[in-house]
Subunit: 271 residues, 2 copies
Amino acid sequence: MQSWVDGQPADTLGLQSRGLAYGDGLFETIAVKAGRPSLFEYHLERLALGCQRLAITADLALIRDELSRYASVLGEGVLKLILTRGDSQRGYAPAVGVPPRRILQGNPPAAYPACNAEHGVRLFECRTRLAEQPLLAGLKHLNRLEQVLARSEWHDPDYAEGLMRDTAGRVVEGVYSNLFLVKDGVLLTADLSRCGVAGVMRAALMVEAARLGIDVRVGDLSLEDLARSDEVFLCNSVYGIWPVRACASMNWSPGPVTRKLQAIARTLLDA
Amino acid sequence: MQSWVDGQPADTLGLQSRGLAYGDGLFETIAVKAGRPSLFEYHLERLALGCQRLAITADLALIRDELSRYASVLGEGVLKLILTRGDSQRGYAPAVGVPPRRILQGNPPAAYPACNAEHGVRLFECRTRLAEQPLLAGLKHLNRLEQVLARSEWHDPDYAEGLMRDTAGRVVEGVYSNLFLVKDGVLLTADLSRCGVAGVMRAALMVEAARLGIDVRVGDLSLEDLARSDEVFLCNSVYGIWPVRACASMNWSPGPVTRKLQAIARTLLDA
């Protein structure tokens, strides 16, 4: 589908964009079903938080409206919003009073193999480590070279995702997914206050798990925690949940907690 | 001056640019004097190193030629090259066989107050810390949110630059400059293997200092090292050298080593 820039059909962006010059902005990748953005409130909430932390003064009501209208035209697929701090001349200092810029792009539904969700995926052990930067941790910002490097490490399609650790060795997330472990019925996920992207499906699943009475703990995870897990799964806002069946010499089977939450993730994406 | 994209006059870039989506690329900011790019070989060398480390397969001979031609038209000013990994659809995996994209932008000469170079500058102590990411350290890549956040911390024009430390507290660099200390006639500058941008003026000055018989040491610098320095100065490839006269409660006067290298920096920029 034709992209929109600031609400108008467009295929290009001016070269003065701070998004291009510095990766100075945020993005959201939103599943669209039956003309509606899935997990919409979660996406808007993360975007608002990102704007606040990067001091980007965006008109969030306008963005909400624009995303809704774009999704209704797209119908089925994946909507990507890029919100940049706008344009400026040379120099890191943000220009005063320059409005941020909204870029909306529509793609067809993601075509992942059905077996990823059914039988689970194998994780590549990425050598690229996530740097610890609390000021940017959790945000879905446009500085994504770590993910580009990590995703460049493997070409074998047998690996659907990669495992990313931080520079201190903690287990954090996938390259484009969040990671959950299940141990003795408790759901564990990495603390994302130093690095990582706080995915909206992760946020939604934490709420849903608590509703089901499943204990959710956020904290530091080690490779040993991963090895000792009863179940392991990945999630994101486009594909929902993929069980993890292998990583290096570790193996798991899709378990009951994963399957229960997977059904919920499907419902969330279809809602 | 009119920008060029892939050698053709253009004001815009396609929305599929990985430069915009992920900050997936590199840049160089090059002073142009009398139609020639200053410190040209240093810029090309750093760009080549960046391409190698990010696995961007660029035609460096073509880029050299294009920069020369653009500079000859620009005459006097600042030439900015952005080299992106090119375009791709959704997903971090770089597309195979997609050529990188070259964006050249020309600006008038930078208009910094003459007193910066004459009397020295005051440094703002940035709270934003540089994350330790050895895979990206030293490169002038497009992931520059740390610099944007740091430069956003002050508005008082009495501060010409900001002091950046890493998350462990080491003194590293300015927001858009490298930092040198002089202690007992020895030149000290930060090790940039964990974070920071290895500036081309820094590289050139290290070569020139060695030629003058000045001992140059690269290593970890602390606030105490800064406080105990006889002279402190900043450098970059556009303005040359600025003595630092103050940072927080610390004060220095422009000293003989700074002045000697400042004259050399001017020659390098005019060569």
